[in-house]
Symmetry: C2
């Protein structure tokens, strides 16, 4: 069980923006900071923009900022928006052929476990990930 | 976020054996019941045998039985044994290159979410999946 790279990178973008609240950041600098390809990051940023978690401003002085305060972006909400597929097993998904489906206790049990996973993530925000550590995180992400 | 097919099929094997406690079952009949290839099921059964969740008896009267009562096999334990990779994001894994790692709150938050996921699954057993529904599940799995 893994989150997609998409979610992983989305968290990194949000953390990057949260430690640089005073200015617009570029995809190039985020790409350099994490060593992640710009092409990947552009897709992630598009999804975060559609989810109204970041605002991408175009133009020569353009760049990315968080669309709302970091302390209002719950970790579970990020996963809900970036994981296309929270269908843990076949019967959660459209192509289900499992013959147990009409009388199976497993799907609801897995559904409760997924809800517990997301509820636990919702206890913390992007703000919690960075508050009090802005300087040390900035140093870690500074391109040498 | 998905469980692997490996876990999905492991649950199906355990449920199959739990509704047929009175006899040894063959991989062939489980393959026929679910429409899953024997080759896939053999790998799953090998893992379940190594995890001491099923016993595979060889020979002409051989077959599979649960290694212990269905009501003692917690769902979380199945996932722990069948998911090779519970490394939700890169920093859980050996090949980690994320520069946030020395000062990141995300990994512990995801670790707590994973623990909540497994703890929720541990509230139920394979026995809970079938008790009271043995006959209806048997009918669903009967090969026409």
């Amino acid at each position: 069980m893994r989150l997609t790279y998409f979610s992983d990178y989305a968290f990194r973008v949000l953390i990057y923006l949260a430690v640089h609240p005073e200015r617009r950041c570029t995809i190039q600098e985020i790409s350099d900071a994490y060593g992640i390809s710009k092409a990947h990051l552009m897709k992630v940023v598009n999804t975060l923009a559609r989810a109204e978690l970041v605002v991408a401003q175009r133009g020569p002085n353009g760049g990315l900022v968080l669309a709302k305060p970091a302390e209002t972006i719950r970790l579970g909400d990020v996963v809900r928006r970036t994981e296309e597929d929270l269908g843990l097993v076949e019967c959660f998904r459209a192509e289900n052929t499992c013959r147990l489906t009409p009388n199976c206790g497993l799907a609801p049990a897995l559904g409760r476990a997924l809800a517990a996973f997301l509820a636990e993530l919702d206890k913390q925000t992007i703000g919690d990930m960075v508050h009090g550590h802005e300087q040390s995180i900035s140093r870690l992400l500074a391109v040498p």
